[in-house]
């Protein structure tokens, strides 16, 4: 019996701990910021002149995959360097797939990079610096767009910009009209009132004024509160650029209005477990008055959830109804990067050069896959003809914002903490104080470790940010 007990316990312990250990195996622990030195992963594929080189390109973008395939086919058939690119489109868990691929020496030569993964990939040693490849022409093309902490780290460039995403209020014009609302709300109080009016009008038919993808509150707030705050003159992720410290005070003001909509019953029932795609499906079915999201939405309603409703994108409401700041252009600055351990880096760069050619970037913008932030492209490209895109185009109220340091605090993130307040109530000031303390503690530790750099800018003025 004792033996059985020990055996049973041992088994349980191994199983439980294995779950924890599975994660670690993926990480390339020896990789840090240093470039690979001779010990490259794919030595068997070392470049030889005249030899056919097959490059692998991984992306998690689905919305533009047909166009990217078309570009790759064209590149494969026209390039004179015997380079053939193979595209793999991944869906969920892209970052983990990349981790596993690097750990098992099967990483792609070329990677799609986004603001959410570039820094981590760079720190893990996955990305090759591009500085030695950049020609003077390219440097001038991307002049002023290369940002520290976005595509440049420790003075080295790891990716180049193409397009960015704007954030907007997405609203059902039919429902606004039927509920007697003249236009998109200018202030948060207007938004609360509009959500209530729409709900009063349509509740019997399952129509509600407002929704967000609260299954992941951080994701929901990063596509809504972020926009509201940046237009209101505050950094959208709770960071005070003037002091270089986190201050969730302004954030909490927005949350109060969201809480009011919840208390009014204006938020779609079940939004607590709503993902973004089910939300879009409900919006396309005419069940949601408004939500906030990225400029990917026109493409979604064109292909993924075709809809007959009349809808549009508009600048988000602000705290007081006045646009003190600018709407932050997000996910800008990165597009494609090269695997630092690839044996075909030169060939990968040739493909990158092809992808960053003016005609490719122009068509990318004109087809509505992303809004170009490269001035030379944006100036001459025609506006995309995707229905609804006109409300998302970069205008005088849009701009890039300085980068916020990325830190991991102990305990609940601000998304979970504020959403708990929205549903359960409590002392909002205590929530803010707790968040400020935990985030600033994590920030000071990260600064001490050298993971992040903070440069307070006491003279920062959100009204001076201009669209590029």
């Amino acid at each position: 019996m004792n033996f059985k007990k020990v055996l049973g316990l041992g088994l349980v312990a191994v199983l439980a701990l294995s779950t924890a250990a599975c994660g670690g195996g993926n990480a390339d622990k020896t990789a840090n910021n240093k470039p690979a030195t001779g010990n490259e992963q794919q030595t068997q594929g070392a470049e030889q002149p005249g030899e056919k080189k097959v490059l692998t390109y991984w992306t998690d973008d689905r919305h533009d995959q047909e166009y990217i395939k078309e570009l790759i086919e064209n590149f494969n058939s026209t390039n004179q360097d015997h380079i053939s690119v193979e595209l793999t489109v991944l869906s969920e868990n892209y970052n983990q797939s990349v981790d596993i691929a690097f750990a098992s020496n099967k990483a792609p030569d070329i990677l799609r990079l986004k603001s959410a993964n570039t820094e981590m990939f760079m720190k893990k040693g996955y990305l090759a610096p591009l500085d030695s490849y950049l020609t003077d022409e390219m440097k001038s093309k991307f002049d002023g767009l290369l940002m520290d902490g976005v595509n440049r780290f420790d003075g080295k460039v790891y990716s180049l910009p193409n397009s960015g995403l704007t954030l907007r209020l997405v609203y059902n014009q039919d429902l606004f009209e039927k509920a007697g609302i003249s236009g998109p709300p200018a202030s948060l109080q207007d938004m609360v009132d509009a959500a209530k009016k729409i709900t009063d009008y349509g509740k019997k038919e399952g129509i509600y004024g407002f929704a967000l993808n609260f299954k992941n509150p951080k994701s929901a707030f990063e596509r809504s509160v972020r926009e509201i705050l940046s237009l209101s003159g505050y950094q959208g992720l709770g960071f005070d650029l003037k002091t270089g410290q986190f201050d969730f005070g302004p954030y909490s003001q927005v949350i109060e209005y969201f809480k009011q909509m919840h208390e009014d019953g204006s938020i779609l029932p079940g939004a607590e477990t709503l993902d973004i795609d089910p939300l879009r499906a409900q919006f396309a079915a005419g069940k949601i008055g408004m939500y906030l999201s990225f400029s990917t939405e026109p493409g979604v309603y064109k292909d993924q959830f075709p809809t007959t409703i009349n809808w549009a994108g508009a600048l988000a409401p602000t705290l007081e109804g006045k646009q003190v700041g600018t709407s932050e252009i997000v996910s800008a600055g990165t597009w494609i990067g090269i695997n630092d351990k690839s044996a075909n880096k030169d060939a990968a760069w040739k493909f990158m050069e092809y992808m960053y050619a003016d005609d490719v970037l122009t068509a990318y913008h004109e087809k509505g896959f992303g809004i170009s932030i490269v001035p030379s492209i944006a100036e001459k490209a025609k506006n995309p003809d995707t229905p609804g895109m006109e409300g998302f185009l970069v205008g005088e109220h849009d701009s890039l914002w300085p980068v916020t340091p990325n830190i991991t605090p102990e305990g609940a993130n601000y998304g979970d903490a504020f959403f708990k307040y929205m549903l359960d109530g409590g002392d909002l000031q205590a929530v803010v104080s707790d968040l400020n303390a935990r985030y600033n503690d994590a920030l000071s530790k990260a600064v001490e470790k050298g993971d992040v750099k903070v440069s307070p800018d006491p003279s920062f003025d959100p009204s001076q940010l201009k669209a590029k």
């Binding site: 439980a16 701990l17 910021n33 603001s115 820094e119 029932p269 079940g270 477990t273 993130n413």
Partner: protein, 299 residues
């Protein structure tokens, strides 16, 4: 065959298992036991932090809330699963027309992907257009959508889904146990005038003791470790109401992707959480073993 040759042969036969155990069992275990004393986000140099991860764990309210949720989830699942699967096994062990088909039907959830089942149940239970609410509203049983996956009822819903997924598996194990009970015991009890309830109470239950002890142990471990369907249906929400230990651990190691800012992996802290989680599950299993000693004895 010489003893030396037999030893060689036995060693060769054992080799694959030993290699797999070392690679998939011992190595990860050693990895976790080491990294729980480090701060390591998956890149750069790991930093030795001593017992800091454990100190953090003891003040981590979200973790202890997940422990509490795990007990509620596991308790609810066990209370429903074990009696229901035993009842089904007893019914399907009798002379029932189409019993093989029914056994296959009840076992079916065990072989279907948990992720697929959970997506289907999400579609059934979601508040805005779920089938359950639509039916209840159609027959005027409820006036407005019921929040099956809302903060108040999400735990109950995930317990029901987990129970549905587990019953068939334990039913099969109970069936195997029932079929090992000698039939002549029932025959002689019937001759002595025992009815179905008495036969169940005085023959079936005691004779199933050792099997039931194992089944309940397996059920306890599975319930304490279960998180897959919760991850798909609620991602631990709303506001952490269905966050269980292993989901909490999973998120530390594989942060759920969000649309914007990156979330770092926490291998060091995750290892500490994994270790304590294993201790909790192991401790409960040990207590159960101690308390269920009598079940192992058939007189």
């Amino acid at each position: 065959m010489s003893q030396w040759k037999r030893l060689q042969e036995n060693s060769l036969l054992l080799l694959p298992s030993v290699i797999l155990t070392l690679a998939l069992g011992v190595y990860p275990l050693v990895w976790v036991l080491r990294y729980m004393f480090y701060d390591y986000p998956g890149y750069g140099q790991e930093v030795f932090v001593g017992l800091d991860n454990f100190a953090r764990l003891f003040r981590d309210q979200a973790f202890w809330a997940s422990v509490k949720n795990t007990f509620i989830f596991a308790g609810g699942k066990l209370v429903l699963t074990v009696p229901l699967s035993l009842l089904l096994a007893v019914i399907l062990n009798g002379k029932l027309r189409g019993r093989n088909l029914l056994r296959a039907v009840f076992f079916m959830p065990t072989v279907i992907s948990t992720a697929v089942i959970s997506v289907v149940f999400y579609l059934i239970f979601n508040s805005y257009n779920g089938m359950v609410n639509q039916l209840l509203m159609k027959y005027h049983i409820i006036g407005q959508p019921f929040e099956w996956l809302g903060p108040k009822h999400a735990m109950l819903t995930v317990i029901l889904v987990a129970t549905w997924g587990a019953i068939g598996n334990y039913m099969l194990l109970f069936l195997a146990g029932l079929q090992s009970i000698p039939k002549d015991l029932y025959e002689s009890a019937s001759i002595d005038g025992a009815g179905p309830v008495s036969r169940f109470r005085y023959i079936t239950l005691p004779m199933l003791g050792p099997v039931m002890q194992v089944i309940i142990m397996l059920a306890i471990i599975a319930a304490l470790k279960g998180y897959e369907s919760i991850m798909v249906m609620t991602e631990g929400g709303p506001i952490g109401k269905t966050e269980v230990m292993y989901l909490y651990l999973y998120k530390l190691l594989f942060p759920m992707a969000t649309s914007g800012t990156p979330v770092e992996q926490q291998f060091g802290y995750g290892s500490a959480v994994g270790f304590v989680t294993a201790l909790i599950v192991g401790g409960i299993t040990l207590i159960y073993h101690y308390m269920s000693k009598k079940m192992n004895k058939v007189y």
